[in-house]
Amino acid sequence: MISVQNVSKFFGPIKALQNITFEIKRGEVVGFLGPNGAGKTTMMRLITGFFPPSEGQVLIDGKDLCKSKSEIRRKIGYLPENNPLYRDMTAKDFLSYVAQLKGISFRTQKTAIQKTAEQCGVESVFNRLVGKLSKGYQQRLGLAQALLGDPELLILDEPTNGLDPKQIVEMRNLIQLLRHERTILLSTHILSEVQMTCERVLILNEGKMAADLELKSIEASLEDIFLKVVNKEVELCQK
């Protein structure tokens, strides 16, 4: 579903990503790991079409993101790192606004919003202002906006960021529920989350792909592998 081919991204003299290549098959749930500043968010933004790569190509279902932006963006649901939301809107108005921007037809909008709200458990706070919601509900709402329009590909950038342990478990369970229907790329710092949710893990370090592993095939703990990879003791780029 996603094919990243020799992708590099430069911001002036800064090389944020260098020569990254990987593929993600339809239905796979892939964890994206790496220390802060490794280039995870940049890679996710490239896949969502936020900006184009400086070199290389990102293909979604064989189509170049730069050439058929609108068509591909309909297939993608994205939850950015800091979960940006319109705090002065009610949850219902916010979802309705997102539905309009995603081009969901007026007739099906109500059903789509209802379905997504139920899935994410935000129907009880529908009429409350987003800015007044707890962090947990805000995160659920962020996930709901990503899920609207039933995208085939979900890109979640640190979805449990700032949540308390109970909320983390709830969010993890929610992602588990979604995995059966979609391809998911999940970035996180919580290694146990990746172990519980994902089948495969990609580790980025200093803008380079440092490891691409099937979790089933790992014998050592993910933590050991992660530390060795980021300390450059080993290089595990083959799956």
Partner: protein, 258 residues
């Protein structure tokens, strides 16, 4: 088009739910009311003096020249002060809250975002300005009958000036993340385009013509008097298009490859 309307409606609703808009509206309508009252009173005084002094009867007096054009010019000057305050939030707030990232990843184009933002601000300007038409109905009640065509042309011109201010303010909002700074710089540049025509008298004739042609006041003057000149319309349309295009370009900087 429905996505453009959705963006415009969201922003408009957000402003209409905020206290600051009503504060601005009260200020604007209060100041506008004072300008109208003082303009009409002065006109009435001058008319009386002309009517009672035969030596002055060579002077031609009419309400469009005497009241409408100066009133609309004063409103434009107040809008010059207020519109940067309205535009400063537009893109700067989306940037600082991170919601612009969401918009950039939805199936909408940057053009739709810019036009949606522009329309919402234009609607706000319309909401601010349109109640002042009531003053002319009140004046009619006391016998001051303004020409409808001049009134419509004048208000059309005022909206064009407002749209020009909005387009420039939107560019500032896309460039500067800090809202107060965006409003300050926007005001300074608008002021330059407002008064640049005055400098024409102190420079060489060639440069003077350039300065005059750049001035928003010069192009608004005739419209404010109810006279439509295609040259003025073309100036405003070009001015608005240029700054909207510049706003679009600043949003598209992120799509540059290096």
């Amino acid at each position: 088009m429905s996505k453009v309307i959705a963006i415009a409606a969201r922003d408009l609703k957000s402003w209409l739910h905020s206290f600051s808009f009503y504060l601005l509206a009260v200020f604007f309508l209060g100041v506008a009311g004072y300008f109208f009252w003082s303009g009409l009173s002065y006109f009435s005084l001058v008319s009386y003096q002309v009517a009672t002094n035969p030596k002055l009867q060579v002077v031609s007096l009419n309400l469009t020249e005497g009241v409408l054009s100066s009133f609309l010019a004063s409103l434009a000057a107040v809008l010059l002060l207020l519109i940067p305050v309205l535009t400063m939030r537009s893109l700067a707030e989306e940037k600082s809250q991170g919601t612009l990232e969401l918009l950039f990843t939805y199936p909408i184009s940057d053009v739709q975002i810019v036009i949606g933002k522009f329309l919402s601000l234009l609607a706000l300007v319309f909401l601010l300005v349109s109640p002042t038409i009531a003053y002319f109905f009140l004046a009619r009640a006391v016998g001051a009958k303004f020409e409808t065509v001049s009134l419509l042309t004048g208000y059309g011109g005022l909206l064009l000036v407002g749209a020009s201010f909005v387009a420039l303010g939107l560019l500032m909002s896309s460039l500067v993340e800090r809202q107060a700074v965006s409003a300050g710089i926007g005001f300074a540049i608008l002021l330059f385009f407002w008064i640049v025509g005055w400098m024409a008298e102190w420079t060489s004739p060639t440069l003077g013509i350039v300065f005059k042609e750049m001035s928003l006041v010069e192009h608004f003057r005739d419209l404010g008097r109810g006279i439509v000149d295609t040259k003025d319309l073309a100036f405003f349309i070009l001015f608005i298009s240029f700054f909207l295009f510049a706003t679009l370009s600043t949003l598209e900087i992120r799509t540059w490859k290096k």
